[in-house]
């Protein structure tokens, strides 16, 4: 059952990833990226990271990608014109890429034979309680600094996209 879930969602993730790169219209790329994030959330659940899976859906798929889609709709982005590339590149590019990746995976597997297998339920320390304890004891400084970072980002985005202050009537 774990294997079936892993293969299904890994296949969906790779197909959506290829679709992000290949599609001409930005909206279709954005929807494919949402597909990637969703399937990654399921893979996080398989790895026992339930809080991270929920955060991935809420923050990434639910907020960041909505922002992307808003900007694409606002800018009325259109499909990219098809660029000309040389035909040897198009013909040999993908097979060579696949061979390279396969070789790399094989070499990595040979050098670091990792007998540990991932089975669903073997790591139960990924719940909100453990994350909360770690965030507020060991990683408190990065947590507070990240809050300041988000505040700076909000200010930057408001100033940049709000007209820069020259045309604001108060």
């Amino acid at each position: 059952m774990d294997t079936l879930l892993f293969f299904t969602f890994a296949a969906i993730a790779v197909l959506c990833g290829i679709s992000v790169v290949v599609q001409t219209h930005p909206i279709k790329s954005a929807i494919s990226l949402i597909g990637v994030m969703g399937s990654l959330a399921v893979l996080y659940l398989l790895l026992g990271a339930e809080f991270i899976a929920a955060t991935q859906v809420v923050v990434y798929a639910g907020a960041v990608m909505v922002l992307f889609i808003f900007v694409i709709m606002l800018l009325n982005a259109e499909s990219e014109p098809k660029g000309g590339r040389s035909w040897p590149a198009k013909l040999m590019g993908i097979p060579l890429l696949v061979i390279l990746l396969g070789l790399l995976s094989y070499v990595i597997q040979i050098w670091n034979p990792d007998p540990q297998e991932v089975s669903f339920g073997s790591f139960t320390g990924g719940g909100p309680r453990e994350i909360g304890e770690a965030l507020f004891t060991e990683y408190l400084l990065p947590f507070e600094v990240t809050s300041v970072l988000i505040l700076v980002a909000i200010l930057g985005a408001v100033v940049l996209a709000g007209g820069g202050g020259k045309e604001s009537e108060r």
Partner: protein
């Protein structure tokens, strides 16, 4: 029993009940709004318009299923499907009752319990923005695009107060799992006042409840926040170009969202399936009393009817109501029917509140709506969270 088979049976029961409730919620809404506006509402199709939802479904299904030529087909077809499935999926973690024993099988009255239940609900509400945004964009129509962008911006703006208002009861419950949240609301203090989170010391969540309800109105695009689908302003908003079954899907998704969010409110703030006064004071007989009273009133009216046909139908209604009242006295049925009754009573009252507000209030203008969210509701919900945290830290939960 096999886990998969049991889950399948529970899912089938909940899905069937939910779809029927959806259809008849529309009937209830039309009747209530009509009576607020001093008219009758659906009256002719079936007795008192009870077959009106079926007539509407038949009408919507037999309309011409038109796909305009200028739309982006894949996204156009995907958006209503996404809307309905996301609206229905949140009901899967809502607890309807405690652990019960049905024909020797011990099971909880809940489809499944996640230990990140509240985060799952927030995740689903975050992703359901896409259905509306993509529907408007795929329609290739400026009214639809404008309506959908407004609706999406409204939904993501009100998700913030929703989430922060939802975080305050979590401080008192100490867990993200919905089953444990409802369990933390059992019991009574001073012997009489229920221990729901709206009333529970040290931090009664009255403000949190109100903030959550206001944000819930905005999340489900109901009046007073329904400018994105305002009929007299934007043609029909983001579902302008949709017809027949796809339009019905958006409609169903709106009602399903309403039911889901009132169920969440009941679970988080109003104590889920716990009764309103203790069993020692006879709360096991409250539903019997209510239905019995309704049956007696129907029987009384059946004796002096105005129309001729009521002489045959009203006694039937009286007998049905008295039968339901007696059903609540059967001990085997009481274990699961009583918690379900209290849960449905609370959810139903909140749904009546939704419909009542729809019939009564005007709608906000769009900039008023956004300003209300960012400058008022969000700071108030943060202050509520701080106050709750302070009280819980000082007095303990």
């Amino acid at each position: 029993m096999n886990f998969y088979l049991l889950s399948l049976i529970k899912a089938a029961v909940v899905a069937a009940a939910l779809m029927t409730t959806l259809a008849y919620l529309q009937w209830v809404e039309r009747k209530v709004i009509a009576h607020i506006q001093l008219r009758m509402g659906p009256y002719r199709v079936g007795p008192h318009g009870l077959l009106q939802p079926i007539a509407d479904v038949i009408k919507l299904l037999t309309k011409e299923d038109l796909i305009p030529g200028h739309v982006n087909k894949l996204i156009y077809l995907m958006a209503p499907f996404l809307a309905v499935s996301l609206a229905l999926i949140s009901i899967s973690i809502i607890p309807f009752g405690p652990e019960i024993d049905v024909f020797g099988i011990q099971t909880y009255m809940q489809l499944t319990d996640l230990n990140i239940g509240v985060l799952f609900l927030l995740a689903i509400s975050s992703v359901s923005v896409y259905a509306i945004a993509l529907a408007g964009w795929a329609s290739n129509n400026k009214y639809a695009l404008l309506g959908s962008l407004r609706a999406a911006a409204q939904m993501i703006s009100y998700e913030l107060p929703l989430g922060i208002a939802l975080a305050a009861p979590l401080l008192m419950a100490g867990s993200l799992s919905l089953r444990e949240i409802v369990d933390a609301q059992g019991g009574y203090f001073f012997g009489v006042i229920p221990n729901w989170f709206v009333f529970q010391l040290p931090a009664p969540q009255v403000f949190g409840f109100v903030i959550f309800l206001i944000a819930a109105f905005a999340e489900t695009n109901r009046i007073p926040f329904d400018l994105p689908e305002a009929e007299n302003e934007l043609v029909a908003g983001f579902h302008t170009e949709y017809s027949s079954l796809k339009f019905a899907s958006f409609f169903m998704a709106e009602y399903a969202n309403m039911i889901t969010i009132t169920a969440i409110t009941t679970t988080m703030f109003l104590g889920g399936w716990h009764p309103i006064f203790p069993v020692e004071y006879g709360s096991a007989f409250a539903p019997t009393a209510i239905f019995g009273l309704a049956g007696v009133m129907a029987a009384y009216h059946a004796m002096h009817t105005i129309r001729r046909r009521d002489r045959f139908t009203l006694p039937g209604v009286a007998v049905a109501l008295l039968g339901i009242a007696l059903l609540f006295l059967v001990p085997m049925v009481q274990t699961w029917l009583l918690p379900l009754f209290w849960f449905l009573a609370k959810t139903g009252s909140l749904l009546f509140l939704f419909i009542w507000v729809r019939g009564t209030m005007p709608r906000f203008r769009y900039d008023q709506l956004m300003r209300f969210a960012w400058t008022f509701l969000f700071p108030v919900s943060v202050v509520n969270l701080f106050a709750t945290a302070f009280l819980v830290a000082v007095f303990g939960s």
